[in-house]
């Protein structure tokens, strides 16, 4: 059974159809790259998976559990959506770190708040918070940021901020980690450090969906690739195949434009 099963997702903004009959599935431990030009609907699709946008049609299943069904209002309730979101993590293009918290606090905040819902929180408060802190520190270490734990976001470079954001998303151990153009807001010399971290996660079989404009990276790191254009999936398949031997004319044109640059 696939870990993620997306069925016939549709999304409109007013009269504009942004996503049309999007279906795909993803297996545990696989990395999926979504490519396509700006405005093709990639980001909207990712936002739908994270419940930041509500699809007008379709279903989203994780591990066979129906998280969202456009026809079933019971799956739209805010309190449940909040819990369901935790199946997904999202790393934003513009990082969106919380400026008033240190790198470590950014990583631990959400988990601390969630732990307050645990029945044993009052009894074991100190131990629980200490454990969350240790986990946060080890995540930052994994991102190569041990020496930056006490720094505030504005004291960090873009690449460092994005790595903190990745640690923050990982802290809640999501089933599927989503990246929305994680290097597009970075100076070219800083993209490498972020891509290396994502590559490392792929090597450890983290289930990921990566919206990206880095074709070489998509080819080398992703297992599957989806090419989107004007809100539809034009082509999907094994990464190397789609990027090196696309079967669709639109995919070929898109990739040719990239090769020119």
């Amino acid at each position: 059974m696939p870990i993620l099963d997306v069925q016939h997702i549709e999304k409109h903004f007013g009269a504009t159809r942004v996503l049309e009959d999007i279906s795909f599935s993803l297996d545990q431990g696989q990395a999926l790259a979504i490519i396509g030009s700006s405005g093709s609907g990639k980001t909207t699709l990712l936002r739908c998976l994270n419940f930041l946008e509500k699809p007008d049609q379709g279903r989203i299943l994780v591990n066979g559990e129906k998280l969202f069904d456009a026809d079933d209002p019971a799956t739209h309730r805010e309190e449940e959506v909040r819990k369901k979101r935790l199946h997904f993590g999202l790393v934003f293009q513009s990082f969106n770190l919380f400026p008033q918290y240190t790198a470590l606090q950014n990583v631990t905040l959400a988990k601390e708040l969630l732990s307050q819902e645990r029945p044993d929180f009052k009894q074991n408060k100190k131990a629980i918070l200490e454990e969350i802190r240790e986990e946060g520190l080890s995540l930052l270490a994994k991102m190569g940021l041990s020496d930056r734990a006490g720094h505030y976001p504005h004291q960090l470079s873009g690449g460092q901020q994005q790595r903190v954001a990745i640690a923050r998303a990982l802290a809640l151990s999501p089933d599927i980690l989503c990246f929305d153009e994680p290097t597009s807001a970075l100076d070219p010399e800083l993209t490498g450090e972020v891509l290396r971290v994502i590559r490392g996660l792929a090597e450890q079989n983290t289930t990921m969906i990566i919206v990206t404009h880095e074709m070489a990276f998509a080819r080398d790191v992703a297992d599957q690739v989806i090419f989107m254009d004007s809100g539809v999936i034009v082509e999907q398949g094994p990464a190397r195949e789609v990027i090196e031997h696309p079967t669709q004319e639109r995919t070929r044109q898109f990739l040719a434009r990239y090769a020119e640059q």
Partner: protein
């Protein structure tokens, strides 16, 4: 002489400060509520609130003081409000409208991405407001609020039009005795208060300097 004048003016200063403090106490929360109204998704409510804010900000405060104090009696034959109460009511409404615009600017100035980051991390709406947004809003609104606080200190002088005995009134009362300097001397008290406010606000801004 200086001492006795100072003591008399201090009496007026107490009234000034009471008006100042009560206005802040009620206008700040009311302003927050009005700002929520002006950001509401309900269009008629938003339009209503914006109209009220336009009227209140678009007419002189001195006129509003007179309308609130004399209006109910002249137009509807109602008993007059006590002078000081009428002054407080007018100031609260007037300043709440100004504050609401500052709050709105501060809240809308926090990037949407902050809220979305909180949502994606499974936070509740109130957790996002208190743990993520609030401090960023406060940081944004302290400088413009400080401006309003200092304006408010001086605006309190307007209540003399309905004979509330604040500090300017007290200073002016010496003119009958042939002395003009007590009136001019009141400036020292205003300067002292705005000086203290400036220091306090500067301290607040500095406290929040650690993040951008």
């Amino acid at each position: 002489m200086l001492l006795s004048v100072s003591l008399t003016l201090l009496e007026g200063l107490v009234v000034t400060l009471e008006l100042f403090a009560l206005t802040l106490l009620f206008a700040l929360p009311l302003g927050l509520i009005i700002s929520f109204g002006s950001m509401s998704r309900c269009a008629p409510l938003r339009a209503g609130v914006k109209t009220i804010v336009w009227i209140v900000r678009g007419t002189p405060l001195m006129l509003q003081i007179m309308i609130v104090f004399y209006g109910p009696g002249l137009m509807f034959g109602l008993p007059l409000l006590p002078r000081f109460t009428a002054a407080v009511v007018t100031f609260v409404i007037n300043y709440a409208c100004y504050f609401s615009e500052i709050f709105r600017g501060g809240i809308q100035g926090v990037p949407v991405g902050q809220r979305e980051a909180g949502l994606v991390l499974g936070m509740t709406r109130s957790q996002i407001f208190f743990k993520v947004t609030l401090l960023q809003v406060i940081k944004r609104i302290v400088p413009p609020l400080g401006n309003e606080f200092i304006t408010l200190v001086k605006d309190t002088a307007l209540v003399r039009v309905i004979s509330v005995y604040e500090i300017i009134w007290m200073g002016e009362s010496y003119i009958k005795k042939g002395m003009i300097w007590p009136l001019f001397y009141t400036a020292v008290f205003y300067l002292a208060i705005s000086g203290i406010l400036t220091l306090l606000l500067g301290w607040c801004e500095k406290k929040m300097d650690y993040f951008k």
